[in-house]
Symmetry: C2
Subunit: 492 residues, 2 copies
């Protein structure tokens, strides 16, 4: 059976790619400095091996034969697997080797140039690399194909079915709804910072975060929390999901929200069907859905009043200065509005404006409506019009994010999709199950986890992302719930 041959190959390559994931994780968390060059050789070997095995012509023959077999079958899992294998095979075989190598080489050079440019806050140092990567990405998009506009093909890498047009409409509407909220929220008196000024020892933060992560359902027999400069979550094998965070001894909330965010990703990975590991249908469906799970736990749970009513007394046992703080004060503090120029430090209400800015810049670049040389001035102009603040430097402006130096375009919008989906799903779950809502209002979340397990995690990639969210929520995702959520958080 061609289908079985494909499934066996797919599982075998997953074993190997999960091994490569461990090497990648280790590189971010543990690898000694002098080991980096050799690790890069190892990572290149894995990419080459996985690509070579999956692009053999016999694989294409199996897919074609299995598609014929499957026409007679009714198994939706098999259909989903075949859809994904076909797509992966087409995408891997339609790029010439020369393009793949040139892209890999250009991104390696671009990363170094970006780091230096940001260090010097000098965009011109990065500009020729950005030009090169935009050109190569255009070539990718042309080969992959698209219906409406070229940028669609890039977005589609990260979020199946999302388009420039629909994202533009969604994010544009979000801007109109959010700007008044931002204005009103930033006009309020800022909360009292001094109550939170204290020394929060790292070991105490580790212990508290672990207790919280365990309480919301993260399984430490099937995962870990470690430390990394750039926090991430890696589902590197079934029953082996690893989060990372970083510690600021002046601010226990930074590592806590990092852990809640990554644990949200981790709960999704831990909730995938173990027996389907290695089948496309057993994998997480998209970045926009993945991000919905992290935002759900970070924001809808971790920044809620109910969460702090439950957890503040316990936090005060670890950090005695918190004994003098009320749940309301923590709630106000973790939901204060600030017009940060830096995306990764943005509050919840301005976060999507940062994404809108990046989405529109990328869209205009790929539509040919924006020249590379104009990126800094356009960035600054648009930022000021959105935030009412000037950008102080390229480093704090168009050079702040690492993504472009990796040649990643079309990725930023998935962050906003995550926010939209999270709010939409939480509202639906609360509506569908009043007991779950009542439990959440007591700071308990086992019902919420069960609901996401059933509606989001276990289906894996059985449905496209849009359909998955629509089925779960009983209706397609709109920004309505997100706006409602942010209004109630920020307007007091």
């Amino acid at each position: 059976m061609s289908y079985d041959a494909l499934r066996n190959l797919s599982r075998e390559l997953q074993l190997v790619s999960d091994a490569a994931a461990l090497l990648g994780w280790d590189q971010e968390v543990l690898l000694p400095a002098k080991g980096v060059a050799y690790r890069a050789e190892q990572m290149a070997w894995f990419s080459g091996y996985l690509h070579e095995r999956f692009t053999r012509s016999e694989v294409g023959d199996w897919i074609t034969a299995a598609e014929d077999e499957a026409a007679a079958s009714e198994d939706p899992h098999a259909a989903a697997n075949l859809r994904e294998w076909r797509r992966q095979y087409t995408r891997s075989t339609c790029l010439p080797k020369k393009l793949v190598e040139e892209f890999a080489e250009s991104t390696a050079l671009a990363q170094a140039a970006w780091a230096e440019a940001r260090e010097k806050s000098d965009f011109s140092h990065f500009a020729p690399h950005l030009t090169k990567l935009v050109d190569l990405s255009r070539e990718h998009a042309e080969r992959w194909g698209y219906e409406d506009c070229l940028y669609d093909a890039l977005i589609d890498q990260y979020e199946r079915g999302a388009t420039t047009r629909r994202l533009g409409a969604t994010l544009g509407a979000l801007r109109e709804s959010l700007l008044p909220v931002v204005r009103e929220a930033t006009a309020q008196a800022p909360p009292d910072r001094t109550k939170f000024t204290a020394h929060y020892p790292r070991e105490k933060q580790e212990a508290f975060n672990r207790e919280v992560a365990e309480a919301i359902g993260f399984d430490f027999e099937a995962g870990r929390i470690d430390t990394a400069v750039h926090p991430f979550c890696s589902g590197m094998a079934p029953f082996d999901t690893r989060l990372t965070t970083r510690y600021d001894e002046g601010d226990f909330l930074s590592s806590l929200f990092g852990v809640l965010h990554e644990a949200g990703h981790g709960l999704y990975e831990q909730g995938l069907e173990r027996e389907r590991r290695g089948e496309p249908v057993g994998a997480a469906v998209s970045l926009g859905v993945h991000e919905s799970q992290s935002r759900l736990w970070e924001n809808h749970v971790g920044r809620s009043r109910a969460f702090w009513e439950k957890w503040l007394p316990r936090a005060a046992e670890y950090f005695p200065n918190l004994a003098a703080v009320s749940p309301d004060e923590v709630y106000g503090w973790v939901n204060r509005a600030e017009l940060s120029p830096i995306r990764v430090e943005a509050d919840e209400v301005t976060y999507d404006l940062h994404i809108l800015l990046r989405f529109e810049m990328e869209r205009d670049l790929f539509a040919g409506n924006l020249e590379i040389g104009d990126v800094p001035s356009e960035w600054n102009r648009r930022f000021e019009s959105l935030f009412g603040r000037k950008v102080e430097s390229d480093a704090a402006g168009c050079l702040q994010d690492i993504h472009w130096s990796f040649g990643i375009f079309g990725y930023f919008p998935t962050y906003s999709l995550g926010n939209i989906n999270a709010a939409h799903l939480v509202a639906a779950a609360r509506r569908q199950d009043p007991a779950l809502a009542e439990e959440m209002d007591r700071g308990e979340y086992s019902g919420l986890l069960d609901w996401t397990r059933t509606h989001i995690h276990r289906p894996g990639s059985l449905y496209p992302p849009d359909e998955l969210v629509t089925r779960a929520a009983g209706g397609p995702a709109t920004a309505e719930a997100l706006v409602e959520h942010l209004r109630s958080r920020y307007l007091r």
Copy 2:
């Protein structure tokens, strides 16, 4: 050129096998419990892949062709590589797949049975598994071939060129020399234990160990120290050498000697030629030489009076109770003689008697002079005759070591070869370079490290182990220096 094809293959497979080494390391140090089964599948994939790639018939053809090419060349590195590739190829291709699989399956079962047998202290539970593994090992040895006796083929896996006859003579002579030293040393009054009874916080141990490891030359930009239940050292890539140790908060010396031992292995790995990674000639030459490097730093450095004269003041800054202890008292304490029935807890002077016992048991088993059913009674009889103490249980006797459950026979003697080589090399280095000796007597070891770099580490596998040691020391290794060393340590 066939030689170049072989070298490229060898380097590529090293990249992959180093990736597998990281997975193995991670399993001992970090892997969540529920991830173990999947990791086993991954490890099996790597074994299978590496075996399949190296046993293709084209590899045999390349070796034959390269041997013809090399006959005309004078490059000793190429000759050494070819010698090793030929040996590896012959050994990998001469075992039928059925035997390899049966062995893997039998050891998996044997390990579980051994753990249970040791738990219950009941050898009979393990006996059928031991019978099976001895039979399968016999079959391996028959296929690999041997000149004198079958056990030679097993020893040769771990120490090229070592034979049952020579090991028997060496270890037998060692017994005659050591027994009087043991008798005299154990008759002395034991040192005062109470001076060392204290709480040694783990973080302090970590910091002190790290300082010592750095001072003797371990490069932390090319390595790490982590925690594992069974300490080991893994040279998993060039510039990535990882030690593990374990902590007893009642005894800071346990983790310190663990670190010194593993750092000795680590210095050897860090000292191999980077550019030859992936060539057999660039690898450590044998277990007996590897163990000489760990014993050198653990015992000849770490248990010396000069070491403690230098390091005790610093140790007392970490552990205040040591301020009341003299260097002589530490020296006496770390070199006290005890007749431990357990090998891994043995002092330096009885350690080789434990090895002698195991060597003779294995030798007699494979010569057909010992029945499996008689192993416990023979073990106990021989232990009592060597140590003058009764064995209390199988768990503290013939079931104490894990090795047999892995089907590892012929490995134990390399521990004694390590002790013999270490003493022989240190004596030679001191004789050859009086400045180095004078430096060691001040607790400084950069000259000693340089000497081992030049004579042991950088040559890699250019010479067989015996020849390497003979060249380094200016004469073949005998037990003379070890006996001399132990007499001076233990007879006061």
